[in-house]
C-alpha cells in the first residue's frame, strides 16, 4: 500500500495548475460550479488537447500517452479545482474513448480516438429515456438491423451537452425477443444524421442543462455499432463504474467550496471573523474532514481501476459519498449566508458570485444522475455484501 504520488505525477499536477492559472490570469474563462458538465468551451478543449491531456491513458498509436487512471484523476482534479470549462470533452475523454478502446474495431479506434485526443469529438450520453431511468434495461428506443444500416426510432432524455455535441453514445434495443438486459446494443452516432432532433430542457437554476433527443427513422451506418450486438447493457454497467468513480462526484461545486472557505476567513460578523464563531468552525471543519476522506475514496477508486478491476463497489461508494458531500456543502453555504444565500450572481449585494444559490439548486441532481443514491445502495448491498436482489 502506497498513497504517494510519483515525481512524474507531481510534475503533471503542477503543469496543469500552472496552465490553468495562466488561463485565469488572461481572463479566458471564469471558475464555475458544474463547469465539467455545463461549461462548454470548444476552444478551451482544444487548448487542453494541445497539452496532451485528453485521452491521456490511451496508447500512443491513437494519440494518447499510455498513462494511468491516477494520472487522469490528477488532471481532472485540477480542472475541477479551478472550475474550468471542460464540458465539451468530458464524456468522450472519461468513458466513450475507453469503450471504443475496449470494444471497438480497429478502424473505429483509428478514426475516432485521435479525433477525441485532438479535442474535436464532443459526445453526449444517450442512455436514459422517459420510461427508463433507474431501470435502464427497460429502454425502448429501437435499432432495427436492415441491409445497410440500423433504423433507429425513439427518444433519449437527460442528454448533457446541448447544441455542442457532435456524437451521441446511443444505447438502443436491437433484439426484441431477447431478455431485456440482452437485447441492447451500443452505437456512437453522428448527431448530423437526418432524422435526429433535439429539444432543450431547462434545469432548476434556469440553465439549459440537457436535451431530449429524438430519433425519427434515423439510418445509422452499421459501423457505428460499438462492440458486439446485444452486449450494450454490459458495456453500460462497466462504463458506469468509471463514470461514477471520478472526482467530479466530489468536486463538482468546488468553486463554491473555495469561495466559502475564503468567505468565512475574510468576513466579519458583528465585529468578529466568521471563522471564529464556534458553530461556523464546527461546520467548516466537518466539511473539511468529509472532503479529505472523500478525496481519498476517489483516489482509491482510481487505484482499483489501475489494478485492472472494474471498481463497481468502490465507485458506487465514491459516488454516494461524494454527492452527499456536495449537497451538504451547498446546504452549509446557504446556512452560513442566511438571506444572502439566495442571491444570484449579478444581483445587488450578491456574495460569493451567487455560487451558493446556484449550487443549492443544482446539487439536487447530483444524487440522481449516473445512478441514484438508492440504486447504488442496492448495488452495494447486493453485489458488495451479498444480500438478496
Amino acid at each position: 500500500m502506497d498513497f504517494g504520488f510519483t515525481p512524474e505525477q507531481d510534475k503533471l499536477r503542477q503543469e496543469v495548475r500552472t496552465f490553468l492559472e495562466e488561463e485565469l490570469r488572461q481572463g479566458l474563462w471564469k471558475p464555475q460550479s458544474d463547469a465539467w458538465i455545463q461549461g462548454f468551451d470548444p476552444e478551451f478543449t482544444r487548448r487542453i488537447a494541445k497539452k496532451g491531456w485528453l485521452g491521456l491513458m490511451w496508447p500512443a498509436e491513437y494519440g494518447g500517452q499510455g498513462r494511468g487512471y491516477v494520472d487522469r484523476l490528477i488532471v481532472t482534479e485540477e480542472m475541477l479545482r479551478f472550475g474550468a470549462p471542460a464540458a465539451c470533452h468530458w464524456f468522450a475523454d472519461r468513458q466513450i474513448g475507453g469503450s471504443i478502446l475496449q470494444y471497438g474495431t480497429d478502424s473505429q479506434k483509428k478514426e475516432l480516438l485521435p479525433r477525441i485526443v485532438a479535442g474535436d469529438v464532443f459526445v453526449g450520453l444517450g442512455m436514459s429515456e422517459p420510461e427508463a431511468g433507474s431501470d435502464l434495461a427497460s429502454l425502448k428506443t429501437r435499432a432495427e438491423e436492415q441491409d445497410d444500416c440500423f433504423l433507429v426510432n425513439g427518444q433519449k432524455t437527460w442528454t448533457s451537452g446541448g447544441s455542442y455535441i457532435n456524437y451521441i453514445d446511443l444505447f438502443a434495443r436491437t433484439d426484441f425477443d431477447a431478455p431485456k438486459h440482452k437485447g441492447i446494443s451500443e452505437f456512437l452516432v453522428p448527431m448530423d444524421l437526418p432524422g435526429i432532433s433535439r429539444i432543450p430542457m431547462i434545469d432548476i437554476t434556469g440553465t439549459e442543462a440537457w436535451n431530449d433527443i429524438f430519433f425519427d427513422n434515423v439510418r445509422v451506418p452499421k459501423d457505428c455499432l460499438i462492440g458486439d450486438r446485444g452486449k450494450g447493457f454490459y458495456h453500460v454497467v462497466e462504463e458506469l463504474a468509471y463514470e461514477r468513480g471520478g472526482m467530479e462526484r466530489l468536486m463538482g461545486n468546488y468553486p463554491l467550496y473555495e469561495a466559502l472557505l475564503n468567505f468565512v476567513r475574510q468576513s466579519n460578523h458583528n465585529g468578529a471573523p466568521l471563522i471564529d464563531a464556534p458553530g461556523i468552525r464546527t461546520l467548516i471543519s466537518d466539511l473539511e474532514t468529509e472532503f479529505e476522506v472523500g478525496r481519498l475514496l476517489m483516489y482509491r477508486a482510481a487505484a482499483v481501476m489501475e489494478e485492472g478491476r472494474a471498481p463497481t463497489i468502490e465507485a458506487s461508494i465514491s459516488k454516494i459519498y461524494g454527492t452527499t458531500f456536495e449537497q451538504r456543502l451547498a446546504a452549509a453555504s446557504v446556512e452560513i449566508l442566511g438571506s444572502y444565500g439566495q442571491l444570484w450572481e449579478g444581483s445587488v449585494q450578491a456574495v460569493m458570485d451567487g455560487l451558493a444559490a446556484h449550487s443549492y439548486l443544482a446539487s439536487r441532481g447530483y444524487s440522481l444522475q449516473a445512478g441514484s443514491t438508492e440504486v447504488l445502495k442496492n448495488v452495494i448491498a447486493t453485489r458488495g455484501l451479498g444480500l438478496a436482489s
Partner: protein, 369 residues
C-alpha cells in the same frame, strides 16, 4: 499510488486472523475482560513469540523493522477479534517512542517489551485543573535525582503495567517538557482503576514526590514535546485501525444476521430499508478505513501526519456511533443483550469516546491547514 496490500501485508493479516480465530474466540475475550489484568498474559506471551510485539521495532531492539503501516494492519486484526490488550498503547505508542530516543537503555527496555517481559503504558495526559487546563505532572530537581508530582489520566491497563511512559513539565520552566520512564510500582506512584464501559482498563495515576533517576529521562525540552505528540498521534492512528477491524466484524456479523433472521416469511435482509442500512455502514466504514490507512501510511513515512491523523479521528468520532447504531437496529433486541457478541464490539468500537481526544480538538487541527 497503490491501495493493494503487499504480499507480506496480506500474509501478516491472514496469519494473524487465523491465529486469533483459534486462540482468542469471543469466549476468551469475555474471560479476559473479567480477569484482574483485563487481558490474557498468556496470549500476550504468544504474541511476543509470534514477533508481533516487536514488529515495527528496529532490529537492534529485537524487532523485525517492519513499517508502522504494517503494525496498524496487525492492530486492525486485533480489533476484528476484539482482543483486549495494551497492544495499541504499548506497542504503537510507547515502544516506538523508546527506540527513537537513540538511548541504549531505552533500546534495551524496548527489547524487553518485544519479548513480552515488560509492559510499558503511556501516561501522557495530565488531569484537568478546575479551569479545564490539562496539567502534566511536574518534575523538579531534588539533589541527585528528580521528583515527580501530579496526576495523569486514562492510563490504559495501568494496574497491569510494569512501567509508565510519563510526560512531565519542569517545575522551574513551565515550557520545558520531559518524557520519562518510571516503574509502576515505584514509591510515590499510586494507581486507581477507573470503571468504564470500554475494555482498556483505564486508570488514574498519581505521582506524589516519586523519585526519577537521571537515566530514566528519555527526552527533554522541545524533543520531549515532539516525542509526546508523536506517541499520541501513533496511538491514535493505531486506535483508528483497531476500530476499523472491530467495525468490519460488526458489518460482517450484521449482514450475516440479516440473511439468517426471518420475519414476515423471509430473511429481514431482503428488505430494502435494511439493505440500505447495511450499504450505509459499508460506505462509512470504507471512508474510515481509507482515512486510517492514509494516516498510518503518513505517520510511517516521517511526513507530518498531524492533519491526516486528525481527519481520521474526527471522521471516526462522526461515523462510529452511526455504524454501531445501525448494527444494533438491524440486530433488534438481541443486540442489546450480553448473550450476543455484538456488545463486545460496541464497547470496543466506541473507542472515540474513550481512546481518542474529544472531537473538537481534532476539528481545530483540521482547520489549521
Amino acid at each position: 499510488m497503490d491501495v493493494r496490500l503487499t504480499e507480506t501485508q496480506e500474509m501478516l493479516k491472514a496469519s494473524s486472523r487465523e491465529f486469533l480465530a483459534e486462540s482468542c474466540p469471543t469466549t476468551s475475550v469475555r474471560e479476559a475482560r473479567r480477569s484482574d489484568a483485563g487481558f490474557s498474559r498468556e496470549l500476550w506471551r504468544s504474541m511476543a513469540e509470534l514477533g508481533w510485539l516487536g514488529l515495527a521495532l528496529p532490529e537492534r531492539a529485537g524487532g523485525s523493522d517492519m513499517g508502522f503501516l504494517d503494525l496498524c494492519l496487525l492492530t486492525e486484526e486485533l480489533g476484528r477479534a476484539c482482543v483486549p490488550s495494551p497492544f495499541v498503547d504499548t506497542i504503537a505508542g510507547c515502544a516506538l517512542a523508546l527506540t527513537t530516543s537513540g538511548r541504549e537503555e531505552a533500546d534495551r527496555l524496548a527489547m524487553t517489551i518485544a519479548e513480552g517481559d515488560s509492559i510499558v503504558v503511556p501516561a501522557l495526559h495530565g488531569a484537568r485543573d478546575n479551569q479545564g487546563f490539562e496539567s502534566l505532572p511536574v518534575l523538579s530537581r531534588k539533589g541527585d535525582t528528580y521528583s515527580l508530582t501530579g496526576t495523569t489520566m486514562f492510563v490504559p491497563f495501568a494496574s497491569a503495567a510494569s512501567l509508565l511512559l510519563c510526560a512531565a513539565r519542569s517545575a522551574d520552566a513551565p515550557e520545558r517538557d520531559y518524557l520519562l520512564v518510571i516503574p509502576a510500582n515505584a514509591e510515590g506512584v499510586l494507581c486507581s482503576p477507573l470503571t468504564s464501559m470500554g475494555d482498556q482498563r483505564p486508570g488514574e495515576v498519581r505521582f506524589d514526590s516519586a523519585t526519577v533517576h537521571d537515566d530514566a529521562v528519555l527526552y527533554e525540552g522541545q524533543v520531549a514535546t515532539e516525542a509526546r505528540e508523536r506517541a499520541i498521534r501513533r496511538t491514535e492512528v493505531a486506535r483508528c485501525c483497531d476500530i476499523v477491524g472491530a467495525l468490519q466484524w460488526v458489518l460482517d456479523d450484521t449482514v450475516a444476521y440479516a440473511k439468517e433472521r426471518r420475519q414476515f416469511g423471509q430473511p429481514i435482509g431482503n428488505f430494502q430499508s435494511l439493505q440500505h442500512y447495511c450499504a450505509d455502514m459499508r460506505i462509512m466504514l470504507d471512508g474510515l478505513r481509507t482515512a486510517s490507512y492514509y494516516a498510518a501510511w503518513q505517520a510511517g513515512e516521517e511526513c507530518d501526519a498531524e492533519r491526516s491523523v486528525a481527519v481520521a479521528c474526527a471522521y471516526a468520532h462522526k461515523v462510529v456511533p452511526t455504524i454501531v447504531g445501525l448494527a444494533h437496529q438491524i440486530h433488534g433486541a438481541m443486540g442489546a443483550t450480553q448473550e450476543h457478541d455484538l456488545h463486545l464490539y460496541t464497547t470496543r468500537a466506541l473507542a472515540p469516546s474513550h481512546g481518542l481526544a474529544p472531537l473538537d480538538e481534532y476539528r481545530q487541527i483540521v482547520l489549521q491547514r
